[in-house]
């Protein structure tokens, strides 16, 4: 399905003008809408993400379950379909906390970390990419050295050392993931900026005396917008998985805050006897990341049809 729309570049829409008046007057925005609403991946992905966001935001407010209340005597109760009762629809964890409530709060954590880590990565990557692409030369070399170092350093090892050093918190997790996940932003921004730099209008902006800063803000960045949005979405999916992996290894989000990765790791101890503890957060994670990825892929098809493959 990904190749359906790419035979429909923007300028060609006026080709079949004769029949309907309305086609001629399609603005780029309307065109975008049309492409978006015929892209199934994008639709499914977006709906999944919206549903999960709603659950994460509204769920804990509406449902009468507490994600933190500990009841040791009532620990490891099974979900309703496995003989549990409605007091805890998805059962309880190793400390007797309601699993449904923890899953919902876990969604907030995943979304928060995913969003802010991708934002941090975006800021770092785009800044470095713009600098490298615009100035070239020494600065470009320095940035590319930095990139190589970053790619060469195993993320988990650094995260472990940092978490032992600073202590675990959601900020450290966001920081670690964000600081180690900007290569994609950098590479794309750098080459885009290099291309744009050569274009006439920058040259003309320079000749009429615009400051470098204003060129960045008014000429360079707007041109990158769609690409950045696409990468941002994809990186958000990656960041969500990274958070889960770090938490799984015990160096991410810490108890009592529920993170899906942490919940999988906690459930692992009784994985053979209480499998739902491991399976449920895994499925949640899968749905969210799949939704985000489908959204990202879809947006790439829709926003930047020329930039695929």
């Amino acid at each position: 399905m990904s190749s359906i729309d790419n035979t429909l570049p923007e300028r060609q829409t006026s080709a079949g003008v004769e029949h309907t008046e309305s086609l001629i007057t399609l603005t780029p925005r309307q065109l975008l809408h049309r492409r978006a609403f015929s892209h199934w991946g994008l639709i499914i992905g977006t709906l999944t993400v919206i549903a999960l966001v709603l659950l994460a935001v509204v769920g804990p407010l509406v449902l009468p379950f507490d994600a933190y209340a500990q009841e040791l005597a009532g620990r490891l109760q099974p979900p309703v379909w496995a003989g549990g009762d409605w007091a805890h629809p998805l059962g309880t964890d190793h400390l007797g906390r309601d699993y449904l409530a923890r899953l919902l709060i876990g969604a907030r954590i995943s979304l928060t970390v995913g969003f802010f880590a991708a934002t941090l990565g975006c800021i770092i990557g785009v800044t470095l990419g713009v600098c490298a692409g615009y100035f070239g030369g020494r600065i470009d070399q320095a940035v590319s050295y930095l990139l190589t170092c970053q790619l060469a350093l195993p993320q988990i090892l650094l995260a472990m050392a940092l978490v032992f050093l600073i202590g675990p918190s959601i900020y450290v997790v966001i920081g670690v993931i964000g600081v180690l996940q900007w290569s994609y932003f950098l590479v794309v921004t750098r080459s885009a900026v290099m291309r744009i730099r050569e274009l006439d209008y920058i040259a003309s902006a320079k000749t009429i005396g615009s400051s470098t800063r204003s060129i960045f803000w008014h000429e360079v960045l707007p041109n990158l917008r769609s690409q950045i949005i696409v990468i941002f979405t994809i990186e958000m999916g990656v960041a969500i998985l990274s958070e889960a992996a770090l938490s799984f290894l015990g160096v991410g989000i810490q108890s009592p805050t529920p993170s899906w990765g942490l919940m999988i790791s906690e459930g692992r101890q009784s994985m053979f006897f209480n499998p739902w503890l491991t399976i449920l957060p895994g499925i949640a994670l899968f749905l969210l990341v799949m939704g985000v990825n489908l959204m990202g892929d879809g947006m790439r098809d829709v926003l930047t049809p020329e930039g695929r493959h």
């Binding site: 040791l72 101890q269 009784s270 053979f272």
Partner: protein, 542 residues
């Protein structure tokens, strides 16, 4: 011999895929369960990085050392009495002179015969402070010198009448072959780290550091050893550091013996019918240490007695022990193990009472609680449960669960306001082994820095009169409880999970002797064993 213990669940689709893979690679997946090939598969949680007991005090090495080393004396796992092992006989000539006569015909794993020369070499090596043997600090304290006085007799000259000399000789100094630490004419302390030439009932076949130790029965092990000739041909020690894999190993029949198993897991595995849970005693206690001295800040909340008492009242130890730690654990009110000599149990108690805890906090000026970082390095479930108990009375706890060295680093930097500590007292049944370490004024373990307690403990160590010692310790322990310097929690149980066909005598001191294991035909792990010291087989738990 292919024996697949678990073949009950076969979803067609997943099955087909895996079957395809299996056939594709021509691999046989299933392994047998140990009793078939006479290999005992044992899992340790932390890595064995070193075979030489001389340089370490870690638990795993001591268990291993029981297998590959012999000592002059041995601790009987049932009675905990010290009996001659490599020694044939011994005699105290006077308070400070001990003569030890060696057995004849004892062989090292390399085939050479034990002689007085080897014993002299071993003890002189340990006595030399330059060699840095971990036992050195203890032994050089009471042992002055060793000399040969007969063809098979060694004389030990003690510095002063030391009642635990036989214990130290039974626990800390494995006998080495003369010249073991000399390689090409030079001292090499790591000479035995990966290759050991011991005297024990098992010899090392191969050693992959951090990964696997393979032992085989030493066929020339001497007759008449109190340890007995081992029954099982080979022992393979794996390192499996997470309980998920360890459980899977038991369920799939790949592992035969686990120890230190969390209560939960032990219970589950026992109930599954694939293995048996055995519970024995241990010397280890758990406790919360509180920064009463204000090491983390002059006016840190825990410097206030009422706050420390509130912490004591806030923790629901009963529920934690019942639900999380499980059978074999017992609550303590004192900062020591009640089986230790001098462990006063008649002290101020703080029953679980969250309301009282809140009142005390309010009284102390913290009606809305205060932020507190609680550190922990083991038993995460227990740490989490305690953290939540404290949150429930209003203290804003954040839990920092870290590896031990990280915790110790922070503690020595004075950054720890409270931590979940444990102490095994080296298996010693005397509070001296707990109090002197925890309460002297120089250790960073001492978060209370109370000079009075330090004084009481120090004077108790300078007398041999039992009653005086008991009274001094009692005063110290009562003060600790009054001041709520600690929140004492419980005595750890020692959980073992073993193959149902394995006979394993549960030791009374929590130190497993794997050379006593054997395969059984009746499927009962404990009955009729030579030493079945402790509480045995509390099946099903609670």
């Amino acid at each position: 011999m292919m024996f697949c213990p678990l073949k009950r669940w076969t979803p067609a689709s997943a099955g087909a895929l895996a079957l395809g893979l299996t056939m594709l690679l021509g691999l046989a997946g299933c392994t047998d369960d140990g009793s078939q090939d006479d290999i005992l598969d044992v899992a340790f949680q932390s890595q064995v990085s070193n075979l030489d007991r001389t340089f370490t005090t870690k638990r795993e090495y001591i268990i291993l050392s029981q297998l590959i080393d012999d000592f002059l004396f041995d601790v009987d796992p049932e009675t905990l009495k010290y009996e001659p092992l490599l020694a044939k006989s011994y005699e105290f000539i006077n308070d400070t002179t001990l003569d030890v006569t060696l057995r004849d015909g004892v062989k090292f794993h390399d085939g050479s015969t034990l002689s007085v020369k080897d014993v002299l070499y071993t003890y002189n090596f340990v006595l030399d402070p330059d060699n840095g043997a971990r036992a050195n600090r203890n032994v050089s304290d009471w042992l002055e010198s060793v000399e040969q006085i007969g063809p098979m007799t060694v004389r030990f000259h003690l510095s002063y009448p030391y009642p635990l000399a036989l214990r130290d000789m039974a626990v800390t100094v494995p006998i080495r072959k003369a010249g073991s630490y000399t390689v090409d004419g030079e001292l090499d302390k790591s000479a035995l780290v990966t290759r050991e030439n011991g005297l024990g009932p098992y010899e090392v076949v191969h050693f992959l550091p951090g990964r696997e130790v393979m032992l085989k029965r030493f066929e020339d092990y001497y007759d008449g050893s109190p340890k007995g000739k081992p029954a099982i041909r080979q022992i393979r020690i794996h390192t499996i550091s997470d309980w998920g894999s360890a459980q899977a190993g038991i369920l799939a029949g790949e592992l035969d013996w686990l120890y230190n198993v969390p209560g939960d897991i032990a219970r589950n595995l026992d109930a599954s019918g694939y293995a048996k849970r055995l519970v024995g005693p241990s010397m280890r206690i758990g406790f919360l240490q509180l920064d009463a001295a204000g090491l983390t800040g002059e006016n840190a909340p825990l410097t206030d007695l009422r706050v420390r008492r509130a912490v004591n009242h806030a923790i629901n130890r009963q529920s934690i022990v019942e639900n999380l730690v499980g059978a074999g654990a017992s609550l303590i009110a004192t900062s020591c193990n009640p089986v230790q000599f001098g462990c006063e149990t008649d002290v101020q108690r703080y029953p679980y009472d969250p309301r009282k805890a809140r009142e005390l906090l309010t009284e102390a000026g913290y009606p809305d609680g205060f932020p507190l970082t609680l550190w922990a390095y083991r038993d995460p479930y227990v740490a989490e449960a305690m953290a939540q108990d404290l949150r429930d009375v209003g203290i804003d706890v954040s839990l920092r669960y870290v590896p031990l060295p990280v915790l110790n680093k922070a503690r020595s930097a004075g950054e720890i306001p409270a931590y979940f500590g444990t102490w095994g007292a080296g298996g010693t049944a005397d509070v001296a082994a707990t109090l002197s370490v925890m309460w002297n004024m120089n250790t960073d373990r001492n978060l209370a820095q109370d000079p009075l307690i330090a004084k009481l403990v120090a004077s108790a160590e300078r007398t041999q009169v039992k009653e005086t010692r008991r009274q001094l310790y009692s005063r110290a322990l009562k003060r600790i409880a009054d001041q709520a310097y600690w929140a004492p929690l419980y005595v750890f149980p020692q959980n073992y999970v073993v193959n149902k066909r394995l006979g394993f005598p549960v030791p009374s001191d929590g130190l497993p002797r794997l050379y006593l294991t054997h395969w059984r035909s009746d499927g009962d792990s404990t009955s009729g064993d030579r030493a079945s010291g402790g509480t045995v087989g509390n099946k099903g738990g609670n």
